[in-house]
Symmetry: C2
């Protein structure tokens, strides 16, 4: 049995800035990411892919609204489920294309994230979704549909939904079964379809789950060795925007936690990634990596990529020893 | 290891005649079907659920068109993938609710159906999808998007797409792995996402795959014992609309094939079900059942349901012996 790595990819990486989000654009972007991560599979890692869905679920919500005169709109959690089918298939086909005859079985799984109905996020919806609205539209939707709405920095009003913490991934045992059989699994897309436990099973709730937190939950329950949070910057920066600004390369979980507590990482971007990385180690994981697709392999294996230069951010259990030559850092 | 049954449920059963297709309607209908088939799981059958998606994918296509000024439309095979997420989650939650604490792991899998690029259906698109169009709209879409369009019996024009035969389900080995681990699998929704093999992996194609044929392919490759094709009539009728009209109850595969060859079963409705049932037996299956949700259990187990009366249509290898009392039929 190989080592298990859970990789979280952003939905923004599938629809680049300025792109409308046509299928051809999505497929080309997925193929690029598939190329970057295929080396992990060829190196014997058992891979679980978690993808975001922000732009794609936003597009579906817009289409639902535009078509609401002719077709009933589906709830937000249902749109999240749709993006798991859409993007799961997209990544599976991209990986098959890139790996060719070396491709293992690659299976996208429709996955639910259980959240606590008592999560304080339900009393304080913060996550903006969907299009900008006029004040009148916003008040009308709030009255008609019970939406929470907020004004967004002068750009107009938007619907806001709760972003509760994922507690567990319902399908984790099946994902483990497939990994043990050598299958690459795509799961917890968009952070998983949010559900709350009821007296009879689970019921969908309109919320948005952070995919990095969901990836941590999944990695922990799988007993994974590594959690990789893929982003658009090569490494997390410390003292951002000051003369002391520097890349955070290999760092102990204790030091990472201190920096997080100091407020070094903004909540809208790096904060949740660093927090997810720390949680994974606190829950038994070996290493969390935060970097770009191109640097995933070198960062995870702890080697310096000859092509790409230095690797990204690695959070590890123990503070690493610095190579006295200063030229190359040693990895634990 | 229990016996494996693949159950194919129609998409029309999820959106009843006259319903608009709200989420609450879909969920209530899914729950009703889950109740009917839960007895199979409790009786030890390993269950694979294949669902249709006709009304739901049609609704998505309408929303895509209505929103096309603001969001790019996704191709038909992508909409099929979306319905696998949407309806897979819906059935999984419905089954969990009905089974409660007795629920096994229930996992919806995003599934691709390979079709032959040389399938004659690609040269003769016949399956109408989406809304009715005026002649002018139809010609414009045909010119702009390369759609094939046809006039539909005076009701207007519609887009028609190919309906090729499924060759194999790409994820069959993973489905088998999950079944062997005691998991209920939801797969090949909407007949599977249609893909053709290329020199590098597979590529999606705009087509609609018959879900009953896809269910047969899956049942055969899983080595299933039974294929159940769920429909809205209790049993297949012979000599329909004549004084000799009668229900086809238990019948040998040879006799079923003769009736099919005689043209007893219309291609738009019962024909594909009977053909799928026959194929399954010719490929090694034990029994194919065609009946309503309420009669699935009694029909599959070959017992007369005390509550529901006689069971539905069973296609078996050998012509059954009739009980001389005439009151009750014996099953092989």
């Amino acid at each position: 049995m190989g080592r298990i790595v859970v990789l979280a990819l952003g939905g923004n990486a599938l629809t680049h800035q300025g792109q409308a989000g046509t299928h051809d654009q999505l497929a080309a972007n997925a193929e690029g990411m598939a190329r970057s991560i295929s080396s992990l599979m060829l190196a014997g890692w058992e891979v679980v892919l978690v993808h975001g869905n922000g732009p794609q679920v936003g597009n579906l919500a817009l289409q639902q609204e535009e078509g609401s005169d002719v077709v009933p709109e589906q709830p937000l959690f249902s749109l999240g489920a749709m993006t798991q089918g859409q993007l799961g298939s997209l990544f599976a086909l991209a990986l098959r294309k890139v790996l060719g005859s070396r491709a293992p079985e690659i299976v996208p799984l429709v996955t639910h994230s259980e959240v606590d109905p008592g999560d304080p996020a339900f009393g304080n919806p913060t996550k903006p979704i969907g299009p900008f609205l006029s004040a009148e539209e916003a008040q009308a939707f709030a009255a008609e549909r019970g939406w929470a709405v907020k004004e967004d920095a002068g750009r107009g009003w938007r619907r806001v939904v709760p972003s509760p913490e994922p507690v567990r991934i319902l399908e984790a045992a099946s994902i483990r079964t497939l990994l043990d059989a050598g299958v690459v699994v795509i799961a917890a897309g968009g952070g998983g379809i949010p559900v709350v436990p009821t007296s009879a099973g689970h019921r969908g709730v309109d919320a948005v789950i952070d995919k990095d937190y969901a990836a941590e939950r999944l990695a922990t329950s799988l007993g994974a060795e590594a959690l990789v949070l893929v982003t658009s910057v090569e490494a997390v920066l410390l003292d951002y925007g000051t003369p002391q600004q520097r890349a955070m390369l290999e760092i102990s979980v204790d030091d990472a936690e201190s920096h997080l507590a100091e407020g070094q990482f903004p909540e809208g971007s790096m904060g949740p990634k660093v927090r997810a990385g720390i949680r994974f180690l606190r829950n038994g994981g070996d290493v969390s990596v935060i970097t770009t697709p191109a640097l995933v392999y070198a960062s995870l294996e702890g080697t310096v990529s000859e092509l790409e230069g230095r690797p990204g951010t690695r959070i590890v259990r123990v503070r690493p020893v610095t190579d006295p030559s200063g030229e190359r850092r040693s990895f634990v």
